[in-house]
């Protein structure tokens, strides 16, 4: 290919706090009746004022720490002004300069920053009308912005799934694409080979918006790369604009051109005092960061020597990974444990790892040798170990253990110890 795709990502993640970002309404809006979880603040009524949710700030900082970001010692909220029917105040309370988290890196892709803002309400289109529900209005929303470090769709998907997993590990969001608690945007442009060699970026970017699944993201980016390739190949210029993805036609379509770009008139939010973060605060939050997915993968490999695909599957679900480790404490047949979880889904049948392990032992219990086999082996052992037998008869009970061991050796461990013992004693006494 003559061109190298240059792609940056913007990821929105709704936080799973109990209350909204700037008021004490419940934040869990999914599936609720419209406009039943609002108050003057999130409905943008006259006279209402915001009051910031500490937990949302802490959770955003934790996300930043997990991604190696620098935490801004002095941060604040800004007003981002624009009109849209689902934006009740006519501005979104967001961040601009000194967002909570700056820099950071994941999978060798650089993160520009992570900021905290509030979600808008929800627009529903029905019977030729647009309907607005403000239950989602002011739910805390993090926005992670990467540098344009991506050149192919595969690494984008791997990156995004890891982001999603980290959010879940931190218990800051379920980052569920279907429920809209994780939303994606991509800035796509193509660099010519000359630009690539001198590491310069194209002078335009096309923003892909409103993408609500990984699958559509993949399709949208591929369709957009193809579209831009055709334009550039014809010697034309790609216009800087915002495009959506048409799922039916499988093409992107123009939503807004540069000419009517927004002017958000950001300014510091006067209703919210600034945020000042001490080293102590940041360190305390750092202590709460649990083992992250990649750390867990590496540890699972070292500690349990599991195959990579097994590790990936277990780590993808923190509950399952924990379940595996519970089981692994009780039984060291790690590979089999993982195998039964992944291929037989036995973990689903047993809520407690202990039950699962009992089942595993049962399944792996070897059939005992039958009585005839035991008897003939016992006879052989007695014949071969006259000294031990006479020792026993002379009162040295300890040699029984030795004799049992000899029998088991010949039976390859398949003898039932109690049966072997009684047969041995019977034969010695009778013989």
């Amino acid at each position: 290919m003559k061109y190298t795709p240059i792609i940056g990502l913007e990821v929105h993640i709704e936080l799973n706090t109990k209350t909204k970002m700037f008021c004490s309404c419940p934040a869990d809006h999914f599936g609720k009746l419209p406009n039943t979880q609002t108050c003057p603040v999130c409905l943008g009524l006259p006279g209402a004022l915001p009051f910031a949710n500490k937990e949302a700030i802490d959770k955003t900082i934790k996300f930043g720490l997990a991604l190696g970001c620098e935490i801004s010692r002095n941060s604040r909220f800004y007003r981002k002004n624009y009109f849209y029917p689902d934006l009740p105040k006519g501005f979104q309370t967001s961040q601009l300069d000194s967002p909570l988290c700056v820099g950071g890196e994941l999978q060798a892709k650089k993160i520009n920053h992570i900021h905290l803002e509030e979600d808008a309400g929800k627009l529903v289109h029905q019977n030729g009308a647009s309907l607005v529900d403000f239950n989602r209005s002011s739910v805390p929303l993090m926005e992670l912005v990467t540098e344009p470090d991506f050149h192919d769709v595969e690494s984008i998907l791997v990156f995004l799934k890891e982001i999603q997993l980290i959010a879940r590990y931190l218990n800051i969001s379920n980052a569920d694409m279907e429920k809209g608690s994780m939303r994606l945007e991509a800035n796509v442009s193509l660099a010519t080979s000359e630009q690539s060699t001198v590491n310069s970026l194209p002078d335009y970017k096309v923003e892909l918006k409103n993408i609500n699944s990984f699958r559509f993201l993949e399709k949208a980016i591929n369709a957009e790369i193809k579209r831009q390739e055709e334009i550039l190949s014809n010697g034309e210029k790609v216009e800087q604009e915002t495009r959506g993805y048409d799922e039916v036609k499988q093409t992107t379509y123009s939503q807004r051109s540069k000419a009517d770009a927004h002017d958000y008139r950001y300014f510091p939010e006067p209703d919210l005092p600034p945020i000042s973060l001490s080293e102590l605060t940041i360190n305390n939050l750092q202590f709460t960061i649990p083992e992250l997915p990649q750390q867990k993968r590496e540890r699972f490999e070292q500690e349990y020597k599991l195959p990579k695909d097994y590790i990936d599957i277990l780590v993808l679900d923190l509950d399952r990974a924990n379940y595996f480790e519970e089981a692994a404490k009780l039984n060291n047949n790690y590979k089999l444990l993982a195998d039964l979880m992944i291929n037989k889904k036995l973990d689903l049948e047993f809520p407690q790892a202990a039950g699962f392990v009992r089942k595993l032992v049962e399944l792996t219990k070897v059939e005992y040798a039958n009585n005839d086999e035991v008897e003939s082996v016992v006879n052989l052992v007695i014949m071969d170990n006259e000294k031990a037998v006479s020792d026993y008869k002379n009162g040295n009970g300890n040699v029984v253990g030795f004799l049992i061991g000899m029998v088991q050796k010949r039976l390859q461990g398949k003898g039932n110890v109690e049966v072997v013992r009684s047969k041995l004693l019977e034969k010695i006494q009778n013989g």
Partner: protein, 449 residues
């Protein structure tokens, strides 16, 4: 009946059963009706007032504002009572909640008589920007009452309510108090919750009140101050305690050519009253005063433009078509100074000069306990005299806006009348959370005058 003149008299009269709360309401409502031509009220809440009065009569309790009639500027949300901001946009808006100040006054025994006229969205200093017609000055109906809290000042001056609430973003309590001859307090920014009051400019808005005496205004302030969990800029600060030997600063920058001679003379007389009462007068300098109007007319419209974005006609109210000329002008100006390419030159620059204004006051308050200054360059001017040129009107705010930019308290006190029979007065400015110093000085003045 003779209406009581102060909160103390009102409470004593009720507790001693000299009159009932219902009788008080009767009398005030009669006065409101008789003075309709002042256009002080936009909504009179007869029903709610009588309901509250009956409650009081049935269960007399010694609460701080027992039976005190209150008129709320129509920027204060009153649950179930129409609240318009004197704008056509909110012509029929009925709030679902009440402002913290409204709630606190009610809980303290206050009786809400209704909602007062003002410049629409509090944009103005004359009352002429109301979408429901100007309020008239009760001392001379061809003159403005000042603004933007016009109706509240008029209500107290004309005996239509014992006290009234106002908002002061650039002088909107002190200036109408001055023009109408009543006491008005602009509290420290952060002393009183703004929750439930229609926002004008969020970093400047303060919630205060009008009364006939300093003591009444102080009593109301003590009821409404303090955090409520809804306004994160409220500080539960320890208020300053006045010294036994007080010093007042006279800022030379406030006594310039533009100042009316009669106004100047009355302030000089007031300074003599203080001096006689043992208060030391000290010259101080506030050198950045001359920049205050510029700073104010950048920061204020910027915040206005943002605060008025929620009025889109979707969830309540009418569409943006219904904004009046002054609101549109401020929205336009504010949008411009925040827009790409102009933010640094205007908004950021203004924020920096704002810091210099604050430094001026900090330095001055190292030397003095309060500052004595004029409120407006002239006494109440004539209706229509200045409203054709917005810039000319804005320049009238020269003596009031600094206090808002610095977040400090200001107390407007009447001092007499000019030759035309219009009220004169002055303001005392204090350091942040210096309200008690201002009350102390105000009471000294009232006593010694």
């Amino acid at each position: 009946m003779n209406l009581p003149l102060t909160i103390k008299e009102t409470k004593a009269g009720l507790l001693n059963k000299k009159f009932s709360a219902v009788e008080l309401v009767d009398e005030y409502l009669k006065n409101i009706e008789a003075n309709k031509d002042l256009n002080a009220f936009l909504t009179v809440s007869h029903e709610e007032a009588y309901k509250k009065a009956k409650e009081i009569d049935n269960n007399l309790q010694d609460t701080p504002l027992l039976g005190v009639t209150v008129a709320h500027k129509d920027l204060y949300l009153t649950k179930g009572i129409r609240t318009t901001a004197a704008s056509k946009v909110l012509e029929s808006y009925i709030p679902q909640y009440s402002a913290t100040v409204v709630d606190r006054i009610e809980k303290a025994g206050g009786i809400t008589l209704g909602k007062t006229n003002c410049d629409a969205w509090a944009h103005g200093g004359s009352g002429e920007n109301s979408d429901f017609g100007p309020t008239k000055n009760p001392w001379n109906k061809t003159h403005v009452p000042g603004g933007s809290s016009s109706g509240s000042a008029v209500a107290v001056a004309a005996g239509l309510s014992l006290v009234a609430t106002g908002t002061d973003t650039g002088g909107s309590i002190r200036q109408p108090a001055n023009f109408c001859g009543v006491v008005g307090l602009k509290p420290t920014y952060g002393a009183v919750s703004r929750y439930g009051v229609i926002a004008m400019a969020s970093s400047l808005d303060t919630m205060g009140s009008f009364g006939r005496t300093v003591e009444d205004v102080e009593t109301v302030f003590n009821v409404i101050k303090g955090s409520d969990g809804y306004d994160s800029t409220v500080v539960d600060s320890a208020f300053r305690i006045p010294h036994s030997k007080l010093k007042i600063g006279i800022p030379k920058e406030y006594f310039t050519d533009g100042l009316d001679k009669e106004v100047e003379k009355s302030i000089m007389e007031a300074s003599k009253v203080f001096e006689k009462a043992g208060v030391e007068l000290v010259p101080v300098s506030l050198p950045n005063t001359k920049h205050a109007v510029s700073v104010y007319y950048i920061i204020q419209p910027a915040e206005v433009s943002s605060n008025l974005e929620r009025y889109d006609g979707i969830r309540f109210g009418n569409s943006r078509e219904d904004f009046g000329a002054e609101a549109k002008r401020r929205i336009m100006l504010g949008t411009y100074v925040l827009s790409v390419g102009y933010y640094d030159a205007y908004y950021l620059k203004a924020q920096k000069v704002r810091s210099k204004l604050i430094q001026d006051f900090d330095l001055a308050f190292e030397k003095v306990d309060a500052i004595l200054a004029p409120v407006a360059p002239t006494a109440a001017f004539e209706l229509g005299e200045k409203n054709s040129d917005p810039l000319k009107m804005y320049l009238e705010d020269i003596f009031t806006v600094s206090a808002n930019l610095a977040g400090i308290p200001g107390l407007a006190i009447p001092s007499g009348f000019n030759k035309q029979g219009l009220p004169l007065g002055f303001q005392l400015l204090g350091p942040r959370f210096g309200e008690n110093i201002l009350f102390e000085l105000g009471k000294i003045y009232e006593k010694s005058k």
